[in-house]
């Protein structure tokens, strides 16, 4: 089923999303490689939205026709490191493979440096086996900086990861002299 990507929007989470939230956040295929708790009821989903998603510095619901089908988070570090932010995302399994997450991340990247002006570096740590996520961040324009060996410990397993970054300076507009070369 093809999806018209203009139907993909981002917005903050609402308590009313609890039912839709549980559909994807309760699915291990979606949250298995995240540090999220297991969610098994609408009550737990509601509490998680209220206690974690709403206070989050930058977390958005990925929506189709305003219904939540996933999330994108941008999480700045604290103190002296608050110029660095980690990007994470997840999408309902039913909607995989249609370019929706790529579209959503692209929207997020276009907003986040304005919303969080102190953030200079977005970073993603992608497991070496996760080819789909590697293709996604590369398509957006993240730069692969290296392979970090045995870097991530998640749910009992240690993973090698590729580290990617996108800097606010990577998105600066071209200087005026190049504008005639832009192909529309």
């Amino acid at each position: 089923m093809e999806i018209d990507l203009s139907r993909v929007t981002l917005r903050p989470f609402e308590l009313m999303d609890a039912h839709d939230f549980l559909i994807w956040a309760g699915d291990d295929r979606v949250t298995g490689n995240l540090r999220w708790p297991v969610l098994t009821s609408e009550e737990e989903a509601l509490a998680f939205i209220r206690d974690v998603c709403l206070p989050h510095p930058w977390r958005r619901s990925i929506c189709i026709d305003d219904r939540s089908i996933g999330f994108i988070s941008i999480f700045p570090e604290t103190g002296d490191d608050r110029f660095k932010a980690h990007i994470g995302y997840g999408l309902s399994h039913e909607y995989w493979g249609k370019g929706i997450t790529t579209r959503a991340v692209s929207i997020a990247v276009s907003q986040v440096f304005n919303d969080l002006p102190h953030v200079l570096r977005l970073q993603a740590f992608v497991r070496t086996q996760n080819k789909a996520s590697q293709r996604l961040v590369e398509k957006i324009g993240f730069q692969r900086e290296g392979l970090l060996r045995k870097y991530t410990y998640l749910k009992g397993t240690i993973y090698d990861v590729f580290v990617y970054s996108l800097l606010s300076s990577d998105l600066l507009p071209l200087p005026q002299s190049y504008s005639s070369q832009i192909v529309l």
């Binding site: 002296d80 490191d81 110029f83 660095k84 200079l120 570096r121 970073q123 730069q143 900086e145 290296g146 392979l147 970090l148 060996r149 045995k150 870097y151 410990y153 240690i158 580290v163 970054s165 800097l167």
Partner: protein, 189 residues
């Protein structure tokens, strides 16, 4: 991290090893309050603190406070000593999480260029995985401009994994940093 510059020795014989054996033997031991005056020698030196996140120390009281508040409770920090057992620097491994530790070291500038940092890092690399069997990765972050320290880690067998852009804030400036790692399975010793 300090700059430990390599001295290239020109000779007619082919060199079998680039790393120099220090003229004096290096050993590591815990640091104590009585080391404060030796600590102040390197901690007040602006050459030494150039790539450190901290500013040079200006008072002995601050040095004593640092030893009490940071050094003594630290999970793994050692004085780097030469044969007279007086510290000329320090080296530490700080846990990042359950499986990762980060190595850092600092040496008085009078002792640079003698292979002392290389030897100190080599001693840590040889022992730390036995002392901390849960550690799967020992990593180091070095400023892109701190070439001397990059060479120390490469000589000991750390793997250079890449340059992380705008990764660390050093005295108000955001710097690119080179990431290095050593795993227990790497043969370095």
């Amino acid at each position: 991290m300090e700059i430990d510059s390599c001295t290239i020795i020109k000779s007619e014989k082919p060199q079998t090893s680039v790393s120099s054996s220090p003229p004096e033997k290096v050993h590591l031991r815990p640091m104590t309050i009585s080391d404060v005056d030796d600590f102040m020698v390197w901690a007040t030196d602006t050459d030494v603190t150039r790539y450190c996140t901290w500013e040079p120390y200006t008072s002995r009281e601050a040095g004593i406070a640092f030893i009490n508040d940071v050094v003594l409770p630290h999970p793994w920090l050692r004085a780097i000593c030469l044969e007279n057992d007086r510290p000329i620097g320090s080296i530490s491994v700080t846990p990042v999480d359950k499986i990762r530790g980060e190595i850092g070291y600092v040496i008085g500038s009078k002792y640079w260029g003698k292979g002392i940092a290389t030897e100190a890092v080599r001693l840590v690399a040889a022992e730390i995985f036995k002392e901390k069997p849960e550690m799967e990765r020992l990593e180091a972050l070095v400023d892109v401009d701190n070439v001397g320290s990059q060479k120390v880690l490469e000589k000991v067998g750390f793997k250079r994994e890449g340059v992380m852009r705008k990764f660390m804030c050093l005295k108000g400036n955001v710097r690119d940093m080179v990431m290095f790692s050593l795993l227990p399975s790497d043969s370095s010793h």
